[in-house]
């Protein structure tokens, strides 16, 4: 799942990436506190004074409308959902948009399940069922109404390539 910005109509500050915000000290970026977007913003060097932390999505939308921030950063899904529900001509998705580059790579968030370590058998069984289900027309049908499509599918990327914990020799 990639990142996206909501900006005011016409994108007056010309913000198309986290890096654009970092490069323009006048630009103010809104986030929901406790989300990954906060870490992205920090990682690309956006100063604390340029960031407004909203407690939740509705407040962030109010903040955009009140002109408290120039852009709101969220996952593409959150952003699309907000714009759909807001039906506000004054707001639009920043296009084109490039995700934050962290350690030389574009950061992308992946959805995942968590298991207790002793439930290894359950994990393997679910993996097997998911492998059979993902990418079927049935799957794409079921998630379409939430704004997902083929673009968000992980493709060839495997969990092993994403999950490495410093303590883990896996």
């Amino acid at each position: 799942m990639g990142e996206a910005f909501i900006v005011h109509a016409g994108n007056p500050k010309n913000l198309h990436s986290y890096e654009d915000v970092a490069a323009n000290p006048q630009a103010k970026l809104g986030l929901v506190s406790g989300t990954m977007e906060g870490r992205y913003a920090q990682a690309v060097g956006i100063g604390n004074g340029q960031i407004a932390m909203f407690p939740d999505v509705p407040s962030a939308l109010s903040g955009m409308r009140a002109g408290r921030v120039d852009a709101f950063a969220g996952t593409a899904l959150t952003v699309q959902d907000m714009l759909t529900k807001a039906k506000d001509n004054g707001l639009e998705r920043a296009e084109p948009f490039s995700g934050p580059v962290i350690d030389g790579q574009v950061a992308i968030g992946y959805g995942a399940f968590a298991f207790r370590k002793e439930d290894e058998a359950l994990r393997q069984r679910i993996n097997k069922e998911l492998a059979a289900f993902v990418e079927t027309p049935e799957h794409l049908d079921a998630v379409a109404s939430f704004g997902f499509n083929r673009d968000q599918l992980p493709g060839p990327v495997k969990a092993e390539a994403l999950c490495h914990h410093p303590d883990d020799s896996l």
């Binding site: 506190s33 932390m53 407690p55 407040s59 109010s62 409308r65 009140a66 408290r68």
Partner: protein, 217 residues
């Protein structure tokens, strides 16, 4: 716990700033509205009543929303700290106005009459005779309101301010150590509240000097 300190200290600064600022606003608002409630002019009384009931009758959280997010749409824009101080101050001031009104009404009519018979002007009577007596009765409830205000500052994360509670929540989310973080939060609020209680207690003792002999006029 040492790792928490920088974040908690920055939150503490915001909380203390908001509390002190809002106390100042509340002080002015409470006296203005409390005295206006006793005015002989009906429009003045009415205006004060509208203010008091508007701020007492709606929640501080909703007031914050309106001032920070809605007022800019009609061209009135306060930065987050000013909006927080203004809303929390006016909110507390609305309760304070009733404290002021109550204390002023509790002064016997004979005190006004004595001041009148000595040819003091109404303003002189108020400042020299009535207020000095009424203020003593205002201090204990004002102390309660101030501590209530301190705890109300936790609402300002709605308007993007990183107060103590917000910083604690962020730390909790980052470390998942709810116990220690909340223990620290509890300790800091308790110390702040005790400091305020001590301050109000001293103020009360100072003002009451000379009047603690039975109180018969």
């Amino acid at each position: 716990m040492v790792d928490y300190l920088p974040a908690m200290l920055s939150g503490l600064k915001v909380t203390v700033l908001l509390t002190l600022g809002a106390m100042a606003v509340a002080f002015v608002a409470a006296f203005a509205a409390g005295m206006a409630r006793l005015s002989r002019r009906a429009p003045v009384r009415g205006l004060a009543l509208v203010y008091i009931e508007l701020f007492r009758g709606t929640s501080a959280l909703v007031q914050l929303f309106w001032v920070y997010f809605a007022l800019p749409l009609v061209g009135i824009r306060f930065d987050a700290v000013t909006a927080g101080i203004l809303v929390l101050g006016l909110n507390t001031g609305a309760y304070g106005a009733e404290v002021v009104r109550g204390a002023l009404s509790a002064i016997p009519r004979e005190q006004y009459q004595a001041a009148w018979a000595l040819n003091l002007s109404p303003a002189q009577a108020l400042w020299r005779v009535i207020l000095p007596q009424a203020v003593i009765a205002m201090v204990p409830p004002a102390g309660n309101l101030a501590i209530e205000l301190l705890k109300n500052t936790a609402l300002v994360s709605l308007i993007t301010l990183g107060d103590l509670t917000f910083q604690a929540q962020t730390l909790r989310a980052a470390t998942l150590e709810s116990g220690p973080v909340f223990a620290l939060l509890l300790g800091i609020y308790f110390l702040l509240a005790q400091t305020m209680r001590f301050g109000f207690r001293r103020l009360e003792n100072r003002l009451a000097h000379g009047q603690d002999y039975g109180g018969v006029r």
